[in-house]
Amino acid sequence: MPALGTAELTIQDRGILATSASAAYLDYFSGEDRVFLSTFQQPVLVSRQRKYYSRGQMFQIEWQDYGQPLPGWFDPLMQGFVDLRTLPQNWDSYGASPIDQKAVHEAMNLINGILGPTSPAPRVVPLSSGGLQLEWHRQGIDLEVVFDRGEQPFFYYRNRVSGDESEHALPQDNARLRSIIGDLE
């Protein structure tokens, strides 16, 4: 078995992950719960960590939250982002560059505000250009969110049954994206 290298995500990465995790967990509280908690019991932040392995490297992420269960999409999404970080030069055999970390951060930040606790996990896919896309293919719907170098993110939607398709700029159409993902649950 090959020796595992150890790599931690940067502080900035952890900050984004912490934001993502906290936002997701807070959605678990109903408004009533929040009133209850704020009146009788302040939620307590706890430190958490999780390890991911990719191509012989270990990545450890740490964040603080209120100890709620992780949403189902958390691990597959984080594993997908970690897998992007370990892609070697020329990973597509056609001369692709490593994935741009700015694109990864942009994707993490955006998805933070989009996914709900029961959202289906997207597949994280690298682009030869150094960008990435998040993909869902469910219930006859193709949904792809594209983050590429020097370009505004956008998403492409196609209903394979009706043939309807459309393209939307982000973050302007975040609400539309959230709604479509909600329909995929």
């Binding site: 597509d92 055999s93 056609y94 690298p126 896309q133 792809e144 594209v146 590429d148 492409y156 393209e167």
Partner: protein
């Protein structure tokens, strides 16, 4: 970003198969065990492919395109399919790959990459593995 421009070479016949290597990271395995290609495999403006006719001329079988790439799959689209999506098809021989060609045109927008993918067929399936 590529600064080259390719024009459609009509000497390349409509039925010509254009081979594209597919690394494992562009493959998703569905519940039936089928290997599904991501549209990401077809997003480059200057999309590298191998021309089947040139490989055949040189006595090379299609799978020779992935000879040095273990675990990769090999997919094909036809020149006609590419052209139907406003793409140009051209030869672009390289010293290390005489059969190299290009499917040239914008693919990222309007779902073109996904439609190119929809017309793709497996020539050689990739090797399924946990660590892609």
């Amino acid at each position: 970003m590529s600064s080259r421009i390719f024009v459609d070479d009509l000497s390349i016949q409509a039925v010509e198969r254009l081979f594209r290597r597919i690394p494992p990271t562009w493959v998703d395995w569905d519940e039936q065990g089928n290997a599904v290609i991501s549209s990401a495999a077809f997003k480059d403006v200057e999309l590298s492919i191998n021309l089947e006719s040139v490989m055949a001329r040189d006595g090379r079988p299609p799978e020779d395109a992935i000879r040095n790439h273990p675990r990769y799959g090999l997919a094909s689209i036809t020149a006609a399919h590419a052209r139907s999506l406003n793409q140009a098809v051209a030869a672009d021989p390289l010293p290390e790959e005489p059969a190299h060609g290009v499917v040239y045109g914008q693919k990222k927008r309007a779902g073109i990459s996904g439609k190119l993918r929809d017309g793709a067929e497996w020539v050689m399936w990739p090797v399924k593995s946990e660590a892609s």
